[in-house]
């Protein structure tokens, strides 16, 4: 580059290939943040990635680290087995909302409660993406999906589950934050949260957990721009951004967004 420094490059751990994600999907941003943190913390050589089931499964095609595929919802249990077998490894899962908060709820909560020294990256786009847009445990009340065609009804299907708050309430979690990637400001904060979620278990403090609010334009039946706008308009008011637990700083910040 002439007369200037390179401001934006491909993280070394991120494969230089096109992704399978739909236009406007924010998995690409989320996985890039994971890749940047793996590079910055020099973890790629000792990282072991646990793929889950859903659109997130192909994370292992994009991150150049040792990886294993878990059955649906079981990534935190598989991560437990990996970490107990290889305590020196940097073990992380990458899971969607159906995987983590529905079929994998028990594995997620108990992994956090045991304080497994692993990182959980939770991409919440309020819908089952790969299977074609069914209702997820985080689907918003009123949101139409293929299995709640009239819109999610709180009386019948309950309220969307707030996972970060639940994880923060468990004794074994060291760091729990909810972030979004709908603006530059939020992406920057998200990066810091992902980094902390990797650092907490490596510093032997407990489990690191980050929930990333993300778009699914295909199943939301929206354009990428509309989907991105929905994050701030509908999701953040119900799923507040912020650090809900951070024993790395021995303080709990409720409510406000992750500091820049």
């Amino acid at each position: 580059m002439k007369n200037g420094k390179e401001a934006f490059t491909l993280p070394g751990v991120l494969a230089d290939i096109p992704t399978h994600y739909c236009p406007g999907c924010q998995h690409g941003v989320a996985q890039r943040l994971v890749a940047e943190c793996l590079d910055e913390l020099a973890l790629s050589e000792k990282a072991i990635c646990i793929g889950s089931i859903g659109c997130s499964v192909f994370i292992y095609n994009y991150l150049l680290v040792d990886s294993v595929e878990a059955p649906h919802g079981r990534a935190p249990a598989v991560a437990t087995g990996v970490k107990r077998a290889r305590p020196e490894a940097a073990v992380f899962t990458y899971q969607g909302d159906g995987d983590l908060a529905s079929i994998g709820m028990a594995e997620t909560m108990h992994c956090a409660n045991r304080g497994e020294r692993v990182t959980i990256i939770f991409v919440n786009n309020t819908v089952y993406g790969m299977t074609g847009g069914q209702m997820a445990p985080t689907t918003m009340v009123g949101q139409r999906t293929t299995t709640c065609p009239g819109g999610r009804c709180a009386d019948n299907e309950g309220q969307p589950i707030k996972m970060t708050e639940i994880i923060a309430s468990l004794g074994g979690s060291a760091y729990a934050a909810r972030v979004a990637v709908d603006s530059v400001k939020h992406v920057r904060a998200a990066k810091k949260a992902v980094r902390k979620a990797f650092e907490a278990p490596l510093n032997n403090l407990g489990l690191g957990f980050v929930e990333i609010l993300a778009t699914c334009p295909t199943n939301w039946k929206m354009t990428p721009v509309q989907a991105n706008e929905r994050i701030a308009a509908e999701l953040i008011p119900y799923f507040p951004l912020g650090t809900f637990k951070d024993v790395t700083e021995l303080e709990t910040i409720e409510g406000p967004e992750v500091a820049e």
Binding site: E45, V57, V68, P71, A77, T80, G81, A106
Partner: protein, 357 residues
Amino acid sequence: MSTTGERVLIKGNEAICRGAVDAGCQCFFGYPITPQNDIPEYMSKVLPSLGRAFVQAESEVAAANMLLGAAACGVRAMTSSSSPGISLKQEAISYMAGTELPAVIVNISRGGPGLGDIGPSQGDYFQAVKGGGHGDYRQLVLAPGTVQEAYDLIRKAFDLAFAYRNPVMVLGDAIIGQMMEPVTLGSATTPTNVDQDLGWNLQGKGQRHPRLLKSLHLTDGALAGHNIRLRDKYESMERDVLFDNFLVDDAELIVVAFGSIGRIAKSTIRALRASGKKVGLHRPISLFPFPSQELDRLAASGKRFLTIEHNLGQMVEDVRLAIRKHADSDFYGHLPGNLPTPEDFEQPILAALGVRT
């Protein structure tokens, strides 16, 4: 860990634990269920003291998936349970078969279906041998008939799991698990594999290319190729078939029975031999691979057969398949709910011999 040649009086469940520890089992993941509770209890006490890992999982499902994770790292790892819990582990067993991961699963089986009871039963033969999970796969199944065999076979199970990169089930029952017998212990020299690069296991990539362990094959033809390769592997397991023949050479009738029932039938056969009845025993020890060739050989020499099981008739289907060119097999099923005695098998054997009593 054990001293070579040491002789101890222990329960089958403890023999399984001591065999696993001596085999280098580095990680154990379990969940309480009767009649296998001695196994997680023993492992929770012993493994941490050796610097190895014990986790009481939140569920049988989680325990089996923790096993999957440890197996992906290439370390020697196991889980144990009893029938209803084994049903819950089937998902992970299918994934481990598809991903070709070496793992040991112990089933100290009990009566079923459903909650059944907590006594012995062989009702899980189909689940163990035919594949209780989804998809076209096989697991090696070893069925001990004595406490000594429980100790020896759990060690063999780890070796086979790594030789074939495949799940191996040790199928006992409440009799094998709860019975005490003298056991001669072996040497404790097997490595736990923690630091070994096996060429496929996950360690963190270091300076090499990243490795990916998965069972998803979406590209055209990939899954078919994977299945064919697995089939060839399953067929090659035939070389590790194990069985115990007892007084078969001059026998007119061969009783086929496995596990604890094979052991009890042997006592019946000894008693009948004393009164001149020409009866022998064929006890399959590996249920997969099944000793079909040996049964075919015995059938070709004109023997008759009686299969005895602690269920309504499961292994008998494999016996009939094995001997179909030359013979058929009668069947006697002792049902769960009470313990069979050697005397219980006398009348069925005499009837199969055609002796009027």
